[in-house]
Symmetry: D2
Subunit: 387 residues, 4 copies
Amino acid sequence: MSKGTVVLAYSGGLDTSCILVWLKEEGYDVITYLANIGQEEDFDAAKKKAESLGAKKVFIEDLRAEFVEEFIWPSVQANAIYEDRYLLGTSVARPCIARRQVQIARQQGAQFVSHGATGKGNDQVRFELTCYAMYPEVKIIAPWRIPEFYNRFRGRKDLMEYAEKHGIPVPVTPKAPWSMDCCEVAMRLDGWPRLTGSICIHTGVPVKVINVKDGQSKDTPLGIFSYLNEIGGRHGVGRIDIVENRFIGMKSRGIYETPGGTILYHAHLDIETFTMDREVRRIKQGLGIKFSEMVYNGFWYSPECDFVRHCIDKSQENVEGKVQLSVFKGQVYILGRESPRSLYNEELVSMDVQGDYDPCDASGFIKINAVRLREHHRLQGEASSNR
Amino acid sequence: MSKGTVVLAYSGGLDTSCILVWLKEEGYDVITYLANIGQEEDFDAAKKKAESLGAKKVFIEDLRAEFVEEFIWPSVQANAIYEDRYLLGTSVARPCIARRQVQIARQQGAQFVSHGATGKGNDQVRFELTCYAMYPEVKIIAPWRIPEFYNRFRGRKDLMEYAEKHGIPVPVTPKAPWSMDCCEVAMRLDGWPRLTGSICIHTGVPVKVINVKDGQSKDTPLGIFSYLNEIGGRHGVGRIDIVENRFIGMKSRGIYETPGGTILYHAHLDIETFTMDREVRRIKQGLGIKFSEMVYNGFWYSPECDFVRHCIDKSQENVEGKVQLSVFKGQVYILGRESPRSLYNEELVSMDVQGDYDPCDASGFIKINAVRLREHHRLQGEASSNR
Amino acid sequence: MSKGTVVLAYSGGLDTSCILVWLKEEGYDVITYLANIGQEEDFDAAKKKAESLGAKKVFIEDLRAEFVEEFIWPSVQANAIYEDRYLLGTSVARPCIARRQVQIARQQGAQFVSHGATGKGNDQVRFELTCYAMYPEVKIIAPWRIPEFYNRFRGRKDLMEYAEKHGIPVPVTPKAPWSMDCCEVAMRLDGWPRLTGSICIHTGVPVKVINVKDGQSKDTPLGIFSYLNEIGGRHGVGRIDIVENRFIGMKSRGIYETPGGTILYHAHLDIETFTMDREVRRIKQGLGIKFSEMVYNGFWYSPECDFVRHCIDKSQENVEGKVQLSVFKGQVYILGRESPRSLYNEELVSMDVQGDYDPCDASGFIKINAVRLREHHRLQGEASSNR
Amino acid sequence: MSKGTVVLAYSGGLDTSCILVWLKEEGYDVITYLANIGQEEDFDAAKKKAESLGAKKVFIEDLRAEFVEEFIWPSVQANAIYEDRYLLGTSVARPCIARRQVQIARQQGAQFVSHGATGKGNDQVRFELTCYAMYPEVKIIAPWRIPEFYNRFRGRKDLMEYAEKHGIPVPVTPKAPWSMDCCEVAMRLDGWPRLTGSICIHTGVPVKVINVKDGQSKDTPLGIFSYLNEIGGRHGVGRIDIVENRFIGMKSRGIYETPGGTILYHAHLDIETFTMDREVRRIKQGLGIKFSEMVYNGFWYSPECDFVRHCIDKSQENVEGKVQLSVFKGQVYILGRESPRSLYNEELVSMDVQGDYDPCDASGFIKINAVRLREHHRLQGEASSNR
């Protein structure tokens, strides 16, 4: 008798194929689920493979549009960046993928979900916190944390032997295993021409990209993001080699590539500063840092992340305008910007025009700001000077 | 009879030459002071010019070493960056320059100091807050905020006429007027070869730079900084076009170039994350953001900036190591890093070795983190789902 | 010919009566305006006095309800408290009062507004920033910052002489001059009986107060606030003697009394923690601290305060419930609470029931949290132990 | 053969007595350890009981002085308070107790430590994180998280039966079980006279307490803290009934009593604001909130808590002075303060003396602060007014 039905996040690769078969051996009915979030993959082949290995059902889900609109766009609004460098590509994909997985599980009456994430990484956390948040009664099977599984499969060799024994087709050339998302991998060509163009932003999200060189333009979320990923990727934009701090307390090294995200980060930052009040920006910057930590740690679906997304979204009401930029040899250059919501007032700031501004006020401003400093020097100056 | 002695921050240019003469007309004895913080300038010529215009004394002060060691290095430790983009080049020069100016004023018994900063900018604030903090009784003459002065000199033309009338030599080709500091301007050549090398860091500050291509190395603060500025400048590193928020409440547009600062920013960030605990880093990041705002706003000499510098300095005790990097066509690429203080443990993080780590613990970790999320869903889920 | 019309914030006291006459002397048409925000005042007498002194028009405005609903309630939601102690009574009154003043000015075609706040205090800032934010072209006359005025009136004696000379009735017993707001002053009686009752809160604001001792209850904002102010005041709740930091950079000593605000602070804090997610609360706490600083400094009408109020308001959606409390001899004791939105789960937390909770998970949770600490000890322990 | 030696944190109560015997049954050699941090306890009786139950060794350690100096004093400096209300009494005791326990374990060559904390609480975390941080290789036995133990002992009745069977003396009147620390429990008497006195503070910690009523004074850390605990306890100071958020994600209800801590919290806050620069205080306040969360969550011994303690300690250099206060009927009233390091300047702030202060400067200060608000209104006002 079956132990129940499990929905397995299936990639078509060696690991999750072995997990599929192992789950069957363990007595589960297995439904496989593969999300298309823009990665390069032969989805038909993966489907056939899953079926041939005994999956009861196979779901191939095209999540590209919702991934861009519901997960990447809020990250762009937040200027999300983890530890000053990492643009969170994979991190935002996990809740998107896991959300659909629990939807399928609920709909198919499956009590179990499973995945192939390792026991030391961040993805297991991101995946499972999403599942628990959206389907609190779900039971999660994480084979790489089950001793019977990980003691049996101590390395690639064990997986290969198991695959051979159970008729699992083995890829001849193994693909790069842990970074298959659209947001972090892109082909590149040398000698690719400079992109010069502009990005239009409305309420903090891109609504149009125009390449003035060849006249191309895109105006759907997925179209915009894919185009920037392609162009940026060919120019080697957004490649980084970093050591980062995982949620589980280890440092790990990662080499990431987030071309589209990098271009949007710079474009959004520019229009935001152009149209947002200084002090709102300061508070929003703090919220963006918190947002990035939450997302990195797997808390996309949490009350606090809901709350922060709401606040950030509110801050974006006037973030609107067009950025001129150039993408060339690994760099994104911002060349200019314009906006109907601009708070930049060329005349006010001009050194040749006083306008409404009285320079004498600045004297009072500075002197009042100095009251505290002068008093401090007078009353505690000796103490300070001894330091 | 003289109204007293004023120490004027003198640049040798048209503005401050006119101010020099005007102060004399107003009845002051004028001492000029010109700081060398690395900018390209003919200091001898400036000295002669000041003397010829009637300065009682002329001070030319070489502050390059102290500028790098006491002002730039703490900014590197802080990863100082204003509004996510501006590396604070000019901002950190002001307190360095003004500090010496008030030292000269005290030593020369001058009650007054003066400068040529405009009435709408940040520099007037940075300059004057430093003066008030270090010499609380000082009186400041800011001609561009005095109606008799700014109403008389309404534009460049008025200054030129005044100069002609008073025998002030007028530059034929006016220099770029507002960004003369070493940290923001650098020459560049096309076709300059890629720099590949490494930077050694100790307690958060660079102690050596090595260029593996030509075997050059530098190991003094000034030597290191000048070299990186030169190399980075030739590669066009760190050029930005931004709109920023001034302390006085206006947005202004600036085009900056901070080649050395940009290279050091990336190198320091890398070693810091490599050697610093995750949570210490998080707190220190917040302090660095505050530090940047203080410095931008002119509060280098303030109790709070003292305090934050102390805290940041403390955080840097173990920030030590060597970064391999490449500087090429506008980009700084981090290629690798090593450190005797590394907290990165390749074996612990390896997917093939369990070591001391028990993957089962991660299940408990995730489930306890999910307690709150599941309860929230159970008890307030309906409310949330209505949003 | 008149210099124009000025709307003067008039209190009926000596200072503003002298200012009224002085403004007339200076050539202005004066409209007086007196806001009723709950202070004890003979408004009719004040009206007659203003008319007799030559006010062109006299406005007495009852702002009590809007003061409570639009200014105090958001402060309750924010748990607003400045520097850990001051509940911001006066601070929130200023924008309420000034808002109506500029409305009157606009409606009466007055270009000027005036007030009697001193030149060293916070109220001048709070008052004027509100005016500039809501009526950017307004001109402000602050006599206590005008040399001709403050040099003429160097103390109470000068004001008295001027009053006598111009037929201004002088109060025999001067009232306590700088804290006349309802939120900071209240009578008290010894031997007043203990209040035992409950406060009902909905979306973070009180909707009902019930005194179980005498069966009284209030359910309008103004009714609730006045009742708590009265009861709390009689019990001496919320009296503090503090030194605080003014926005203009001085420390000042203040003795405040905020009985109603203190009771509501405790009640709201209690229901909030009961119904709000831990991490949302943490972020909201930070926003509340920022809100308090903004309000104290006079930035109620600013983009950042708008933004923060919106975020805090959002956080209050589920802050609902009833707090049982006792007010007695200067203290507010929280006795219990209940809520349909409670996140407190007695069964889950019980030590006798495991329920859905597996204690073994805590072992994993602790061990994963220790990964970082153990690694740090192992790799940098010596360095740390030397400290 | 023995499985090894375990150092058990032993309280003398029913739970840990059963654990002692159970550990022996399981094959361990048991050393018991009981820390005296000021709680009321018959230490001799506990010692004899442990010996009679088969403990190989018994350690009774007087940690009172180090608890006050090394754990409570830094919390006073930090104004540590969790979630705006809880003064962290028990939380700071855990690292103190656990530190000695691992010292004993190391010294006695014990590989194991054990404790009687439950599987749902905070204390298990605080206890074990300290152990792991200071003795990374230690193995922890937490019986209440071991199924064989908690399934056997499902309630008090099971413990009683086990005790009877194994000759464990059972207390007739069970003591209040979860709050035995000196810092949270105190006797009280009605009619106890008002304490009026003063507390002297140096570098942020109390150095003397004087009761002017009876002339008593204390000047050692332990003496001061014990005295304030006694006096405060008798007046019912610092009793709260709250719902708080545990680290493991549950809300729990707690009734706490922290009399000494409450008095010191108010006294320290007062002198701190009196002697500390406004902006330093703001930054330090943020660090204090972080410190409180760390301590509550069990991270006393962590790199981040080390760092924050260092920063807070630095901020306390000038926190020095004497607070006059009164403790009466549940309240702490601050009556006044004096300090050689005061930054309060009565003359500067006086409304009758202008001194060095020019009120006109305030006009400039306010107008420059309004630049941003007026521009915002002008450029985005319509957008705002639609909200």
